[in-house]
């Protein structure tokens, strides 16, 4: 192979990469926070909430889980403005991630809630707690603890999936890679390097989530 790898562009373009990294991390943090909150709300509705609210939640979850994230993103960014909703690339990207993670984490958390021993609900009721109070104080934390590994994997998947927000020109890591390759024509090198960055980010995120899990759940859950 006569191809010569050339990384001389790094000196000039590393600030672009850094900016992309910051954006990807921001997207992931905000998307995770609100996405999991939305997921908890969906899980509560589906397993314990009012019956009339369940069909719309089911429809939302099924629709999101059975369509590509890219199309959800395009629909939000290109489609919604025709209804008069305007937003920046970053806002659209965050919204898409929240909606996406909300549906997936909702299903994961629901499994955690449904694995709760019946005695926990009965104990809550016998202490004169309402159903919601029992959920809030007795059921939720152990349920999250049960599914924390699955939820963590899903958060990593969403972070990696966020690479496509570059397609609506949100300036994340992939956007930086596209930008650099269009300026330097060193396509393979720029994607190779940024792929490595994603790999490190995925490993770091997994470690961070493990740490958060240890912090949130210092004790073992009831089985």
């Amino acid at each position: 192979m006569t191809y010569r790898f050339d990384y001389s562009w790094i000196a000039e373009y590393w600030p672009v990469v850094l900016k992309g990294l910051v954006t990807t991390v921001e997207l992931t943090l905000i998307g995770t926070l609100f996405g999991v909150a939305l997921g908890i709300a969906c899980a509560w509705t589906r397993s314990l909430g009012p019956r009339w609210l369940r069909p719309p939640v089911v429809a939302y979850v099924e629709l999101i889980r059975n369509t590509p994230f890219l199309i959800q993103l395009f629909f939000i960014f290109f489609g919604l403005p025709s209804l008069g909703v305007q937003m920046t690339e970053f806002q659209a990207a965050v919204l898409a991630m929240v909606i996406n993670l909300g549906a997936y984490s909702g299903e994961i958390i629901r499994a955690g809630i449904e694995a709760t021993p019946r005695g926990q609900f009965e104990a809550g009721a016998s202490l004169a707690m309402t159903r919601f109070e029992t959920f809030r104080h007795v059921v939720l934390i152990p349920a999250l603890q049960r599914i924390w590994p699955a939820l963590s994997s899903q958060i990593v998947i969403v972070m990696l999936g966020s690479a496509v927000v570059s397609q609506i020109a949100a300036e994340d890591i992939t956007f930086a890679a596209n930008f650099i390759q269009s300026r330097t024509f060193r396509a393979f090198e720029s994607y190779f390097l940024t792929t490595g960055l994603y790999l490190l980010l995925a490993l770091a995120l997994r470690q961070a989530l493990r740490g958060v899990g240890k912090m949130l759940f210092p004790r073992r859950a009831a089985r």
């Binding site: 191809y3 629709l63 889980r65 199309i71 629909f75 990696l160 393979f188 994607y191 790999l199």
Partner: protein, 219 residues
């Protein structure tokens, strides 16, 4: 300027959806075959083989599929060939699919109770015989629902190949949007077509899993 009826839009999208289906099938079947080869190494006795698959899975599950597509596209280009988008798309999706299937299947093999290994060992079976007659037949039954479930991820994954220029459903959506200036309708329809492809797979995966759980309770 030309006007498009809803039917015009839908027809164009459906025509392109054929390529989504073809690419999904190729990726799933190719990924499945590669996944089986990797599984053989992953649960085998050779340490080097296990380590290789571990690294492979880490690499492909730890990086964005979009980046893998770019690398396949530009990486193949390094060999001096003019890379058609379908080749890079197929290659990347096959490698990516295999990385997920091998982990799913490994879990299924490990879910077979330890007593099954011991009973078959006590009857004098060797490793290959245990695998062939006792462990794999049981693992396969457990593996069907999650494997069908993962096929949904493959179909959705093909959407990313539009970004490297493969013309399938998503790419057609962008093209039609640019021609009609009706993104809401077009992307809405695109989403519905994906849903029509994926939802039956999701649903059958759920049903299969429920059946399996019922069957298991009887043991």
């Amino acid at each position: 300027m030309m006007t498009f009826t809803l039917w015009d839009i839908l027809r164009n999208l459906l025509l392109a959806a054929r390529w989504t289906v073809v690419l999904s099938l190729v990726s799933f079947i190719g990924g499945g075959l590669l996944g089986m080869a990797l599984l053989y190494l992953r649960i085998g006795k050779a340490r080097a083989g296990r380590m290789f698959v571990l690294g492979y899975v880490e690499l492909f599950q730890g990086t964005p599929l979009l980046m893998q597509l770019f690398l396949a596209f530009f990486g193949l280009g390094l060999f001096g060939i003019d890379v058609p988008a379908w080749l890079a798309a197929g290659l990347a999706l096959i490698l990516w699919t295999a990385a997920f299937l091998v982990e799913i299947w490994r879990g299924c093999v490990e879910s077979v109770a330890r007593g099954q290994w011991e009973a078959s060992a006590s009857l004098g079976m060797g490793y290959v015989q245990q695998m062939r007659y006792v462990i794999l037949p049981q693992a396969v039954r457990v593996a069907v629902p999650p494997t069908v479930g993962f096929s949904v991820q493959v179909v959705k994954g093909t959407a990313l190949t539009s970004i490297i220029g493969f013309v399938e459903l998503s790419k057609a959506g962008t093209v039609v949007t640019n021609a009609t200036f009706e993104p809401f309708t077009v992307y809405g329809l695109v989403a519905l077509i994906y849903f029509a492809l994926c939802w039956p797979l999701s649903k059958s995966s759920q049903i299969l899993e429920r059946k399996l759980n019922v069957a298991h309770r009887n043991h």
